[in-house]
Symmetry: C5
Subunit: 357 residues, 5 copies
């Protein structure tokens, strides 16, 4: 958290478009993957240097669709040069580098810029999020990712290679749709996983939860909130793609994007249900604790109410006064015992009447 605050501090007072990387700096590599395809051919290769990239003239309208995936954003200078090369506005390059940016879409004459989050539920039940940015130009798409160690988009490469009928006949906007839809499918998975974790948490709550278990509920709520905030602007982004007559979005892609919008709505509803569940869960848990405590208190009260008076009575006859006539009575002991049994029985009867037993 402190790192993040410092990074924010260091940006204050800087001019807009100041290119500073804001995020967890851990990996220093940048991998550029260029994929070219059309109906007949498909090729995917790693670009070694910026020189090589420059010589490709990606934003010169070519017959082939070209997709450049930039993975690893620590090298600010390189990212900035790529931005300039492909005609991305400096403010958008700043957005690419700031890994805490709000999802959004910007429309320009030469392209559409989109920032969004990709989520993954890690093995240790931590929710990890990665920022992914897209710039769709005429016949090309650039995507920016943070972690060059992980190749999130691997299944997409396969789909392009195999997608002779639809995919490779379509324009670059179809590629954008596929990537958006792919990320939203990850949302689905994460939401399902959250649902299972919430069911687990409920099981634990009903047994004997520790403070850590209670804190887990807060963590789950935060995760739900996080995904909601990432998923909510997607509705606007998708609607703006659906509505706007940007020449880059083709008529044929609209129906696919509408399908993606349906998914977004579905994810949102599931999150709503999960959030509701967590709130009710806490209420029910509180009720159930108090209910159990009530049971415990009744046991204590019954035992104490029966035996405390009796103990007092036996205490009386344990006193050492010289002059206590009852002690000398022949039937003193059985009489006292009988009185005590009578008291105990009537108290038990009283508790039965009060429905405590």
């Amino acid at each position: 958290m402190s790192i993040r605050k410092n990074q924010i501090k260091s940006k204050i007072g800087k001019p807009p478009g100041s290119l500073i990387f804001v995020g967890e700096k851990n990996i220093d590599k940048t991998v550029l993957t260029l994929t070219e395809y059309d109906e007949e051919s498909y090729d995917s290769r790693v670009i070694k240097s910026f020189k090589e990239l420059e010589s490709l003239h990606i934003n010169n309208k070519s017959r082939k669709i070209r997709w450049l995936n930039v993975n690893g954003l620590q090298n600010v200078e390189l990212i900035s040069k790529i931005g300039t090369l492909l005609g991305i506005h400096s403010l958008n390059v700043e957005d690419v580098l700031n890994s805490y940016h709000h999802p959004k879409a910007d429309f320009f004459d030469n392209g559409i810029f989109i920032v969004m989050k990709n989520f993954e539920m890690k093995e240790d039940k931590r929710l990890s999020d990665e920022q992914v940015s897209f710039f769709l130009g005429e016949n090309f798409l650039v995507s920016f990712q943070h972690n060059p160690e992980v190749d999130t988009f691997n299944p997409i490469y396969e789909r392009i290679e195999n997608g002779k009928n639809v995919f490779r006949k379509s324009k670059a906007d179809y590629l954008l749709y596929v990537l958006l839809d792919f990320i939203l499918d990850n949302y689905f998975l994460v939401v399902e996983e959250l649902g299972e974790q919430i069911d687990d948490a409920q099981g634990v709550l009903l047994k004997n939860p520790t403070t850590e278990d209670l804190m887990r509920i807060q963590t789950l709520k935060k995760y739900i909130q996080k995904i909601r905030q990432a998923a909510s602007p997607l509705r606007d982004i998708l609607n703006s793609l659906l509505r706007r007559d940007s020449a880059l979005i083709n008529e044929e892609t609209i129906i696919y994007l509408r399908d993606t919008l349906d998914h977004q709505i579905h994810i949102f509803e599931n999150l709503e249900t999960l959030r509701d569940s967590l709130t009710t869960m806490l209420d029910i848990y509180l009720s159930s604790i108090n209910n159990k405590m009530n049971e415990v208190m009744k046991v204590l009260t019954i035992i104490a109410t029966i035996f405390i008076p009796l103990t007092f009575i036996v205490g009386i006859y344990g006193m050492n006064f010289k002059h206590m006539p009852e002690l000398d009575w022949k039937f003193g002991y059985p009489i006292v015992m009988a009185i005590m049994i009578a008291i105990a029985v009537s108290l038990v009867w009283y508790f039965k009447k009060k429905k405590w037993l």
Copy 2:
């Protein structure tokens, strides 16, 4: 749940329109029922093979209204072929097969596609939901259901047979309306049933609820949420039918659809009331537990406060010190007894004053 997650996982990275069945696979049969009717005639029969279906040329505009009910969606290949045959978009066929789809309506030039949920409250108080999809073409309607064991639409066949005056004079859009309205009537029933279950739950809460009873409230809340999420998009669906000048919706059907919209609003309000009831119920329950606990505590405190000091006093005179002058006093015993009675009486008076007794 785990099955569902795997199904979702298996869809990630697949092209759109990938036809994979997502749902609880348990029944492998598909029953195709074709109903043909016009003012003069009515006929309903089971179609044996896809060949037979193909030869019917359902989407060739015929004089008669034709309704094909497809029950059982495990046979993905068959469903896919039916979709292609009738001109249903591959994305919509995908929606038909994904039994967790969000209710929606899609409008095409050649038809209207609708997905929605049908609910039933089972004998064991479980809410079961089934996804039902419709495709309305010119003079024909296709409906898709999941469970070929159960013939949900039986009452509709009767209505067509008997409905010489209105039903059989109307177009296929009237059939669509009848099916929508029929499903919404099931919502009514389920909501009424939920209302009764909530009343039962309230009765249990006031007695001696177990943790399972408390969990039942959460289950009821989830059911209400589930129906809300299924009923909520129906407003949009109905409004889009009412507004859109799709040539497939006739002027005469509009007034009926408006009536269905009224029902949707009524269902929604009832759900709102039920949800409100559940929340208040939990609050009142929590208050009532704490109130009872307060009563229990008072009894314990009164008994303990009266007898603990007295037991201490009798303990003093049970000590075996050689030199305790009081023990030898003639009236030592009655004096101590009198003192103890005085203490008990004043404590009772004190509790009366404090309104604890």
Copy 3:
């Protein structure tokens, strides 16, 4: 509730406009009252038979305003014939007969159909609601009520008789306004009554409430919700009357309807305040119970903490060991007493410091 569910069940799968009475069937009579008036004359009489009604040709535009009040809706056949006679759509006749219908207004070329609820707070603090429907045609108005035993509209007859200056100069839409406003005034009364009951409930809560008192709060919440759901669509109904250029609503009536809309808003706000009050009341009640319990616990703890250790000490010297030197000491008894007084005093001091005393 069960009756209602059966009635709903019996409607499922029936064609729209199937005329089945849905409500609490208890009274079998139908009373038809016809009121005719214009500037010069006023007459109100009971219609004996449907024949007589038919011969009146109510929907033939006459010079006089004619108001037909149909009270008692068990006779489905009669209601249906009246509907057909006056040109009411069969779906609306169905609405008239279904006493659980949502308030709404339908606009037709030949008239305006309105359904709404009328409320009354009974002597036993039960909220009773009755459905009232109106059909406004040119120069006539039909109203439908459920209970022929009670003449809700009596004050209106008087107002027509006395209202030479405004009422009897106005058209039928003014009569509709008067009836709507009259019903809304009943809402006011009921809301005031609810306010008083909530104040009473609060008084009870602060004393020693039973579970029944807590349930009363839930009932009051349900009543508020019920009235809200009945009052809320009135805004839309009134707005649609105010906006729509239905030739049946005259310019002069608009200002009166706007006044009625003001009343609706006021009622809604009062309900909002009452609902808020109930929620806060429960919160405060919960706090106050726990606060009282805290007081009780402190008393118990103070008494137990002081006397339990002392009782232990006296117990020690009550042991019968042969070799206990203290027992033989001359000042053993006063020393032990002094030690115990010291312990008691320091505990009291400790509790004072902790502000428990």
Copy 4:
């Protein structure tokens, strides 16, 4: 409350515009104050009779601005005659007399009618509200107040007298603005006062609150709700003044009214913050009670857990059995004491480990 219900009852079934006073009747006087001013002159005097008022022809457009303040509304006949004289619609006169009316603005060709609430926080921390109505005509303004004992508008007279530069050069709409703004300034004061009372209530809650203190919170919540409901329609009223091209609102006044709208927004936000504070306050209070109770319970449990077993042990050796070998042991007494010390020490160690000590 009961008075109010009766007044409402007496209005039911009465024709609209029936002039009945609805409010707390306590003062029977009506004071008419006429203020005339223009750039050169200023005069303010009391009008003695309706005759005198009639002779002034206030709504004949004069060169001077004329402001008639009607204070005291018991005299229904007089108010009604004033209404007719100045061209106020009978429904609006009814609104003036009904002191429970919802704030609103009505626009007519001959004027603008406004109803609103004025608040004052009394010495005894009761919130008093007064209804104030305005009718703005061409070059005149009539204001209606309920309490002739109090001259709320005194500071305004001074401002007119001193306001040669702006005030007396402006039209009657400026006077209306000044009065609206003056009343909103009172809202500010009341909201500040409520803020202070809420801070006080918080201080009390943290100490040792009585049920009355808890009820105070509910009262404060009701006050906030009351002011919200009075302030909320002011936004619409002001917006309608700002938008509508009623010839009575001059271009120059618009900027002042926009300023008043800013104030309304600010008041609303403060109320929102206060409401939020009260809710959180109750939650925190509940947590803090339970926390304190937990502390109390721990003390009780520690004391009881240590001494109850020890008391049992000393009880054993207090038994009078003939054959108890331990009693005759030479070191029986010290051994038992040592065992008891060991038990006490290990329990203390156990509680330390559990962090209860």
Copy 5:
């Protein structure tokens, strides 16, 4: 608070535009800083007297951009003269002086007036807010701040000096954007800081919180509410700048302002998450207290339930009755001991079964 109420009181009944300083009066100095720049030159100097300012003719359109920063607003007369000199509306000058004003933007022919809040988290974790106002004219900008001791805008001067490429080529609207963005960056910092404080508060809550710690949560909630109320109108302000074709906002600045709007949305979402966290935190805390109390109660109940009956039994044989046959039995003592062990063992078994142990 009391000072503020008096200041509000003193304004009531005053004419609009009455220039009274409303805020915490502590510093009496006013520092005027004039910064002039264009592509070639940059100069920043302190203006000594109003005379000097007058002679500059700031609002005469010059080639250079001129920025006047007025720091310290106690000198009402001076501020008023500056306002008149630069053509600021008297109502806006009043807004500048009232440090409790709601953020807003007013558009005039000669300029745009903006009021907003700047926040800072002090060392002692108090949130301090300062009101900042801007007036953008043609080629000049005036800014008003409250505290001449602190030079908030220092980093901006540096940016102008260094910003030869973009900043000094842009118009005055770019300067306005930079200042708005600079203030919003401070919001980011404060929100991050609040996030850290909330995390700290959570840690404390899980240990052993005092009432002060609970109050801290309320304070944090108030801070969040305060920033929300300051940030919320910024959306409208920015949107009005983006939409309005005020000639003062240039096409090139629009994209920067849109970026600032993104920041506003991001801040708002973070605040939403923080608010949610605080609410859940309190719920979880309440649950965890009650859970702990339950544990404590169980210990007490187990100990008491086992030993209270046993103590009663040993009490019986401590009675001094002459005729108690058991006391003389040879195995009386071991038999009683065995019975007591049996009771203890069965109680422990009972508690194990009840899962209390």
